[in-house]
Subunit: 191 residues, 2 copies
Amino acid sequence: MEQNTRQRLIDATYEEVYSHGYQGAALANILSNAGVHKGSMYHFFPNKKEMALCAIKEKIAERFGTRYLAIARGDGDYLKHFFEGLRDLNQRDFRRGCPVANIVQEMSNIDEDFNTAMKEIYAKFRQSVKIIFDKAVSVRELQPCDTTKLALFTTSALEGAILAAKASGDSQDYLDCVECLIGYIESFRKK
Amino acid sequence: MEQNTRQRLIDATYEEVYSHGYQGAALANILSNAGVHKGSMYHFFPNKKEMALCAIKEKIAERFGTRYLAIARGDGDYLKHFFEGLRDLNQRDFRRGCPVANIVQEMSNIDEDFNTAMKEIYAKFRQSVKIIFDKAVSVRELQPCDTTKLALFTTSALEGAILAAKASGDSQDYLDCVECLIGYIESFRKK
DNA sequence: ATGCCACTTGACTGATCGGTCAATTATTTA
DNA sequence: TAAATAATTGACCGATCAGTCAAGTGGCAT
């Protein structure tokens, strides 16, 4: 009937893929959760894969926009806001883990289109963290340093921390990892 | 005919699951790669899931035994040997990523039995790294410190590093992360 | 009002999935 | 050697999967 239908499909697809992985995502579940019939879905998307790729790209871009880019657009205390975000458990779902890491792990070596999409998303993630560090350097919260590598290590350690909590089922593991990581970043603070 | 059949199934299952995930693992592929017929497989295992769990437990236990426990059983230079292992690209398959992380990401929140199995394996991984650090402390390569947390951070940062390389397709990302991690661990060295 | 087009409906298809089973062959035990 | 058990074979099953399609609906432009 409207654009509404497409958005409901995107939302339901994202949830289903986040919960069960791409390969475990059942079209029937997506359709019933979205309240959309099959033929209608194939009016908007050529197949399951394209719909999933759209859902991932759109929903995750949205997520990054509100989370990391918002910090960089702020006015100072970049590290403080970044660390606050890391420590905020409400931003995390440790049962399901990180949506980006899940898809990378599951699909990067299986499908070329997923590989390409996730490469872009992961690069964007690293880039947005690097921008935060660059801002921090520019206002002398950090010493001048290789912010590209620092962002690489930060993002990957963060992904690892989320994985650790998902594996153990204990969010304290995430917090412990994050404190180590913050300690590492703090060592680059301007003295 | 013999125990041989079971082992071929275990090996083929591990490879198939490592390559395509559990949900993407096709019984038909496993059987043809193992050169075993379907009925024969169901003589050794009750179903696909149990066979996969067996394969994961047996193959990964084997992996840890030869890799990390061997270092702890050595006689000194624990950190050096550990770091050498981390830097050795021959030990890694960045296309497929870490077998443990893959399954944790895919299955921990989907199936209780997988969750339990992966919890144990991940805990064993952390424990075996902790033992290396404890040894390092005992011979004064490291200052006395919270080796449990250090092992937690080390393992999770390592998983993150492998993921980063899998996402970008660039093993240099792994090496860069590992150098940061080693730098962090080195800061606990006895001075 | 008429024709057009975006959108919806849901039954249907063929392929593939994991799993079953009865019959057969090999191996061990007595 | 005979009986029992272990292992193998491959046809078969029902369920589920993504994807197709012809028919229908409703709004909008002419």
